[in-house]
């Protein structure tokens, strides 16, 4: 009688505990498809006497309950038992990781759990091991001791809690925090009708009424996006935008109009009693051009003398190097030829013509949107042919300096 009482109490207690757990081995409301499938093999009694069979079921069921409460989908025994029987495995064989993984794999489980207990001298020693079935690897395990009474529940609860952080990762990729991304990006531009695309590939839209709200592309905050801006009659332009906030506006740089022609007004040092007018025609807008120039100036030494009139007429071919139409400073080289027609204000002196080669002009330009300021050094070589005033050789001003010209240019 006393032996029956000894065994009955824990049985009744565990039954009560099981009832309290409502036998739910899966988390309420959980989606089975997203749950980790757990295969819980029966706890094996390794006690010397083998008389605590009922603890085997108690412990196994407690383990299933705790795993179910933790969100795992505990597979029914029928899902793996056929595989074990086919292999001829007994419960104790399933303590082996290799055997356990073979059966759990066939049952399509993600997690395999096995354990054993040993009751001896009123002490329970409990070991539980967990395996990642797909990785075929041992993940974690616990070894607990306790009393064979109601504290068994706490023991199992504690053991599962200790294992949860690792076994919860089984079957799922580690959770990566989602970076914040842009919600709404607006581009502002004065270039009405300008087409905007993303790095030349994906068209984002066109500027309308001064703005374009981009499609909802989740650009990460902190990333740079490159937009390509295009409009007929303007140079293609790219601009890099730094996304700093979820809702952000960008004022785009205005496009540069393609220059087809330009007009220069210039002055040459030593010839400042006059001015030059030049007209450019661009073969390639803002890159390569042909130009014609007429510089008219008076030469006079003192009040009361008879100014001499010079007309410097030349044709040039030129282009820009190392800098695009957007650059603020540009280097321009040109070459050509011309002649200087000279006549006196005193009658009866005739006219003279000095032909020259304009070997190279080097010009530095401050390139603004519609106009440019420039400084130009000129290397001219007089041919000294015909009725001329200058002998053959380089044309230099007093002091040996080459001619230097400053001016500004209006772009059409």
């Amino acid at each position: 009688m006393s032996a029956l009482r000894r065994r009955l109490v824990p049985i009744l207690l565990c039954a009560w505990l099981l009832a309290a757990s409502a036998g739910v081995w899966a988390a309420d409301g959980a989606d089975e498809a997203s749950q980790t499938r757990a295969c819980v093999f029966p706890a094996v009694d390794l006690s010397p006497s083998g008389e605590y069979e009922e603890y085997r079921h108690i412990l196994t069921d407690l383990l299933k309950t705790e795993l179910g409460n933790a969100g795992f989908l505990v597979l029914a025994d029928e899902s793996w038992q056929p595989a074990g029987r086919r292999r001829g495995f007994k419960d104790a064989d399933l303590l082996s990781g290799e055997n356990l993984l073979a059966v759990a794999e066939e049952a399509q489980a993600d997690l395999a759990v096995s354990g054993f207990f040993r009751l001896e001298s009123r002490q329970v020693v409990l070991e539980i091991k967990c395996y990642d079935v797909k990785a075929r690897a041992f993940v974690t395990g616990v070894l607990k001791t306790g009393r064979p009474n109601l504290s068994l529940y706490n023991l199992i609860d504690t053991a599962v809690r200790e294992m949860l952080p690792e076994i919860r990762l089984i079957g799922k990729a580690p959770a990566v925090p989602e970076p914040p991304s842009a919600k709404e990006i607006t581009l502002l531009s004065p270039d009405e009708g300008m087409e905007v695309s993303l790095a030349g590939a994906k068209r984002l839209g066109a500027i309308s009424e001064g703005k374009l709200i981009l499609p909802p592309i989740p650009f990460p905050i902190g990333s740079r996006i490159t937009v390509e801006k295009k409009k007929e009659g303007f140079h293609l332009s790219r601009e890099s935008l730094l996304v700093k906030e979820p809702v952000q506006q960008f004022k785009l740089r205005p496009l540069r109009r393609k220059t087809k022609t330009a007009t220069e007004l210039n002055w040459t040092v030593g010839q400042l009693a006059g001015f030059g007018l030049a007209q450019r025609y661009y073969l390639n807008p803002d890159i390569m051009y042909l130009a014609g120039e007429h510089y008219f100036y008076l030469q006079s030494n003192f009040a009361g003398d008879h100014p001499v009139l010079h007309n410097d007429i030349k044709a040039l071919f030129g282009g820009y190097l190392f800098s695009g139409p957007d650059s603020a400073l540009r280097l321009n080289l040109s070459t050509g030829a011309g002649f200087i027609l000279t006549y006196f204000s005193v009658p009866g002196q005739g006219a003279y013509v000095d032909f020259y080669l304009n070997i190279v002009n080097v010009s530095f330009e401050l390139n603004l949107r519609r106009w440019a300021l420039f400084w130009r050094g000129e290397a001219k070589y007089a041919l000294g042919i015909g009725k001329s005033l200058l002998s053959r050789g380089w044309l230099n001003m007093a002091g040996g300096l080459p001619p230097m010209t400053v001016g500004f240019m209006w772009k059409w």
Binding site: G270, L272, S300, D305, P307, Q349, S391
Partner: protein, 333 residues
């Protein structure tokens, strides 16, 4: 120049009218000329004298005729002849290397050349006591600019002057020490006498001789180059001493002016000052203290040129050797 005024209008009453006349171009030129006094405006590619030119003469044709196809080098010498009335005539002497052929172009009042071609032409150029021009051994009528006669008595390669009474030819004898030799001639170029004078320096070279009757007591200006001191020297000597056939040591006895930092050629005396070329490419007008600069013009012409000046210093004459053009212009000084 613009003229402002009120004019009565038949329909609108009094109307302010601004009348701009043909003087506008001159006004523009005047304004620009004023601005042009700034160096930035005048540092031109072209010779600076161009705007001062008042007349020019192209001499290619007569020169080609003189050369007659020969490629011998042509030497030229530009000087100014002044008659007794003070009228001045620029003259260009041409002689062909390795040839006795010589030609003289005397520019008349229309700046057209009167051409004389005689073998006796040489570097000497004076107005003699008879009022004729003498160039080398050739005597030229100063009124008609025509050949009068040749006189072999004249030392054609010397320097000279006339005080109106006699003719004096001057040269350095090359002895040690150098002395100024002077041969005196009567009008008509018969020999009257000769004398010599010491310089007072051992390294001077006689470059030119000028006679300026306006410098009373200093009429004969000797333009020298002192090779030892590397300086130009102008010595002002009295014509009366030459008539006495005696000159004391020149650089000690008479006032002189020294100018440094100028080239040995060219050097010219004018009544405004002394014209010389500095080493910075300028023609400089020095005052008679030899230091004060009264004016400056660019003279680093790309083409070879020769220059001369009238006695007053109002006009320059410039011969462009390469283009064979002779210019007359105002110095502006």
């Amino acid at each position: 120049m613009a003229e402002h005024g009120w004019r009565a209008s038949a329909n609108d009453g009094w109307v302010h009218v601004e009348m701009v006349r043909r003087l506008f171009p001159s006004a523009v030129f005047g304004a620009i000329s004023l601005l042009s006094s700034c160096g930035l405006f005048t540092a031109s590619l072209f010779p600076s004298y161009l705007s001062q030119v008042e007349a020019s003469a192209e001499l290619s044709e007569p020169i080609d005729a003189l050369l007659n196809g020969r490629t011998n080098r042509l030497w030229t010498d530009l000087f100014v002849l002044r008659d007794t009335a003070g009228k001045e005539f620029p003259a260009l002497l041409l002689f062909i290397e390795y040839s006795p052929d010589r030609s003289l172009y005397i520019m008349d009042s229309q700046f057209q050349p009167k051409i004389l071609t005689y073998n006796g032409l040489d570097s000497l150029h004076v107005t003699d006591a008879s009022g004729d021009f003498v160039v080398g051994q050739i005597i030229i009528n100063s009124s008609t600019l025509s050949f009068k006669r040749a006189d072999s008595n004249i030392l054609g390669s010397t320097h000279g002057f006339s005080d109106g009474a006699n003719n004096y030819l001057l040269w350095i004898d090359g002895a040690l020490p150098d002395q100024l030799q002077c041969k005196v001639f009567l009008p008509g170029w018969t020999t009257s006498g000769s004398f010599s004078a010491l310089w007072g320096s051992s390294s001077v070279e006689l470059k030119k001789v000028y006679y300026d009757p306006a410098r009373t007591g200093q009429e004969v200006i000797l333009v020298l180059w002192d090779w030892g001191a590397n300086q130009a020297v102008l010595a002002f000597t009295p014509a009366a001493d030459y008539a006495l056939f005696a000159l004391p040591t020149i650089l000690i006895s008479f006032p002189s002016v020294r100018i440094g930092n100028v080239k040995p050629e060219p050097l010219h005396y004018t009544r405004k000052g002394i014209m010389a070329h500095d080493y910075e490419g300028n023609t400089v007008l020095y005052d008679f203290d030899g230091v004060t600069v009264k004016g400056k013009l660019r003279s680093d012409y790309r083409k070879e040129t020769q220059e001369g000046y009238d006695l007053e210093g109002d006009y320059f004459f410039l011969y462009n050797v390469e283009d064979r053009i002779l210019y007359k212009g105002k110095t502006g000084w």
